[in-house]
C-alpha cells in the first residue's frame, strides 16, 4: 500500500524537500486517502506546536527566486564599488601584490625569508658587540676588586689567608705595581716560611716586571730558611739573571749555610757564569 511509503515521506513533505515527481505522487495519494490525510494533519499540528515547522512552507520556486535575488545584490555591490569591510579591502589589496605565477610566488617567498634572517643577524651582531663591551667593563671591575682583596689578604694575621692572598695575586689579569710590591714585601718580611715560598712561586710569573729581578737578587742575601733559599736560587738561575752571581758567591762563603743550599748555589753559579 502507498500509505506505508507516504508515512516515510511525510516529514519531507512537510518541510518541502520532496522532489517534483514524488511530491505529485504524494499529493495524488493524499487526495484519495483519508487516513493519510489525518496522519498528515496531526503530524503538522504537532510540529507547529513544537515550532519546528514554519507557518508557511516555501515552495521550490521561492528558493530559486531567492538565489536569483542574492546574485543580483552581489552584482550590484561589485558595480557600486562599496567596501563591505576594511579587512576585505586589505586582503584584496594584498592579493593584488602577490604575483600570479607560482614561480614568482616562490621567488617572493625566498626573498622575504632572506630579508628576515638578515635583519635578525644584524640585530644580533649589534647586541653581541654591546654585550662584549659590557663584559669587558665587568671584567675590569672584577679585576680591580680582586686586586684590592689580594693586597688586603696579604696583610692578615692568619698564614692561611696570606697564602690565599698570594694565590689571588697570581690570578690577576694585570697585576700592577701595587701587587708586585706587596709580593716582594711578603717575600722579604713574612714570618712564615710557607708564605715566602708561595711568594717565590708567584714572582716566577712576574719576573719581567721592572725591578723585580733586582729585588729578587737582593732578597737572596736576607733569606734564612733553606727551603726559601733553594727556591729563590732556582728561580734566579731559571731566568738567567746574571746579577745573581755575586749574591750566590756570598752565600757560598757564609759558613752558617745549609750544605744542601751551598751545593745548589755552587751549581747555580756554574750555570750562570
Amino acid at each position: 500500500m502507498y500509505c506505508e511509503r507516504l508515512k516515510d515521506l511525510l516529514a519531507d513533505y512537510l518541510v518541502g524537500e520532496l522532489d517534483e515527481k514524488t511530491l505529485a505522487e504524494a499529493q495524488a495519494h493524499l487526495a484519495g486517502c483519508a487516513a493519510c490525510r489525518e496522519e498528515l494533519e496531526s503530524l503538522s499540528a504537532i510540529w507547529t506546536k513544537l515550532g519546528v515547522l514554519p507557518k508557511e512552507q516555501p515552495s521550490a520556486a521561492l528558493r530559486s527566486r531567492f538565489y536569483d535575488m542574492l546574485e543580483a545584490y552581489k552584482e550590484g555591490l561589485k558595480r557600486g564599488g562599496i567596501a563591505a569591510r576594511p579587512l576585505q579591502s586589505l586582503s584584496s589589496w594584498l592579493s593584488r601584490l602577490v604575483p600570479r605565477r607560482p614561480a614568482y610566488q616562490l621567488a617572493l617567498a625566498l626573498v622575504l625569508i632572506i630579508a628576515g634572517l638578515g635583519s635578525g643577524y644584524l640585530l644580533n651582531v649589534r647586541s653581541r658587540s654591546n654585550a662584549r663591551f659590557e663584559v669587558a667593563t665587568l671584567k675590569h671591575e672584577v679585576n680591580d676588586m680582586r686586586r684590592t682583596v689580594a693586597v688586603s689578604l696579604l696583610k692578615q694575621a692568619s698564614p692561611s689567608e696570606r697564602l690565599m692572598g698570594v694565590s689571588w695575586s697570581v690570578q690577576l689579569d694585570r697585576p700592577g705595581d701595587e701587587i708586585i710590591a706587596a709580593l716582594l714585601e711578603t717575600l722579604d718580611h713574612d714570618s712564615n716560611v710557607n708564605v715566602r715560598l708561595a711568594a717565590v712561586d708567584a714572582l716566577y710569573l712576574f719576573y719581567d716586571h721592572p725591578e723585580v729581578k733586582e729585588r729578587l737578587v737582593r732578597s737572596l742575601a736576607g733569606q734564612t730558611s733553606p727551603l726559601v733559599q733553594l727556591s729563590l736560587i732556582d728561580l734566579l738561575v731559571g731566568i738567567r739573571e746574571r746579577r745573581a752571581v755575586e749574591a750566590l758567591g756570598q752565600l757560598i762563603q757564609d759558613h752558617k749555610i745549609n750544605p744542601k743550599v751551598k751545593k745548589r748555589a755552587e751549581l747555580g753559579l756554574a750555570q750562570l757564569s
Binding site: S158, M164, S167, N194, L230, N258, K260
Partner: protein, 302 residues
C-alpha cells in the same frame, strides 16, 4: 684587659732548695688561663727554644698549661762530654771553647742549682694567649689543654721532641727546626714547616676554602685526608718521591708556559714550573707540599 701571670720564681725556688737532694726530679708548673671572651674561639701562641710542645683539645673553656722543666744538672763527666761534642760538631771560636772548658773544670763534681726563675711567661690579651720562655733557660716540655676551637701558633726550635697536637679544630701554624711535627685529628688549615723533622698530619676533616702548606727540608711529609675530600695538590720535591693511594687526576705540570700578547700591546711571558699538580675528587682546597729530600705520602683515611 691585660693579665700578666708570672709563674712564681720564689715558690719554685723554695721548692727547689727543699728538694735539693732529689736533683733528678723535674719540676712542674701548672697554670690555668682563661680567655677574655670564652664564647669566641681564642688563639694560643707558644714560642720556645729548647723543649717540646704537646697540645690537646678538650671540652673546657680555659687553657691549662703544664710545664715540665728538664733538669740540666750534669755530672762532671757529662759536662766534659758535652764540651767535647760541642768542639767536634761546630766551629766554635777559641774563646767560647776555652770558656766552656774552664767551666767544666771549675764545676767538676758539683750540681747546678736552679736559682733563677724558670723564665716562663704567660700573657693573655684579647683572646690571644702567649707563652714564651726566656733565652738560655732550661728545656721545657709543655703539655697544654685547649678548647677544641682554638687556633694555634707553635714554634719550637733546637729540640728533638718536636710538636704534637691532638683534636684541635682551629687554624694551626707550626714550625720546628729539629723536631717532628705530629698533628692528629685536626681540621683547620695547617701551615707548617720543619728543617729536619718529619711532618705527619692526620686530618679528621678539612675546612674547605682555606689553603694549606707544609714544607720540610729533610723529613718526610705524610698526610692523611678524608676519603671525600676535594683538594688541589701542589707537590714539589727535589730528591724525594711522591706516593698516594688516592685517585689523583694529574693536571699537566707545565714545564714552560708561553704567553704572547705583543699583538695587543702587552708583553711576552715565559714561565717555568717544576711542580706536580694533582686534583682529588675534582679539586678544591689548595694544599701545597714541599720537600727537599723527604718523600711525600698522601693517604686515604681508613
Amino acid at each position: 684587659m691585660k693579665t700578666i701571670v708570672r709563674l712564681a720564681g720564689i715558690i719554685i725556688l723554695l721548692w727547689a732548695v727543699g728538694m735539693a737532694d732529689s736533683s733528678q726530679q723535674s719540676q712542674a708548673d701548672h697554670a690555668v688561663v682563661s680567655f677574655t671572651n670564652p664564647a669566641k674561639p681564642g688563639s694560643l701562641e707558644v714560642d720556645i727554644r729548647e723543649g717540646s710542645i704537646t697540645v690537646r683539645g678538650y671540652e673546657g673553656k680555659d687553657v691549662i698549661i703544664d710545664a715540665r722543666w728538664r733538669e740540666r744538672v750534669l755530672t762532671g763527666e757529662k759536662r766534659e762530654m758535652e764540651a767535647a761534642l760541642a768542639e767536634a760538631e761546630e766551629e766554635l771560636d777559641q774563646e767560647e771553647l776555652a770558656r766552656k772548658k774552664a767551666q767544666a773544670e771549675k764545676s767538676r763534681g758539683m750540681k747546678m742549682l736552679a736559682v733563677e726563675s724558670m723564665g716562663l711567661t704567660i700573657e693573655e690579651e684579647d683572646n690571644v694567649i702567649q707563652v714564651s720562655v726566656e733565652e738560655g733557660k732550661r728545656a721545657v716540655d709543655l703539655v697544654i689543654q685547649v678548647p677544641f676551637s682554638t687556633s694555634l701558633q707553635l714554634s719550637c726550635r733546637d729540640d728533638e721532641r718536636g710538636v704534637t697536637v691532638e683534636r684541635v679544630n682551629g687554624e694551626i701554624e707550626v714550625d720546628t727546626s729539629d723536631g717532628p711535627i705530629t698533628l692528629t685529628n685536626v681540621s683547620g688549615p695547617v701551615v707548617a714547616d720543619s728543617s729536619d723533622g718529619e711532618i705527619k698530619v692526620v686530618f679528621g676533616k678539612i675546612t674547605p676554602g682555606k689553603p694549606m702548606s707544609l714544607s720540610a727540608m729533610d723529613g718526610d711529609i705524610d698526610i692523611t685526608l678524608p676519603l671525600d675530600v676535594k683538594a688541589s695538590l701542589k707537590m714539589k720535591t727535589d730528591e724525594g718521591q711522591i706516593f698516594t693511594d688516592f685517585d689523583v687526576q694529574l693536571t699537566p705540570s707545565q714545564q714552560k708556559k708561553e704567553e704572547d700578547e705583543r699583538k695587543e700591546g702587552g708583553g711576552y711571558r715565559v714561565t717555568y714550573e717544576k711542580v706536580t699538580l694533582g686534583l682529588i675528587n675534582g679539586g678544591g682546597t689548595e694544599i701545597q707540599l714541599t720537600t727537599y729530600e723527604g718523600n711525600i705520602y698522601v693517604r686515604k683515611a681508613k
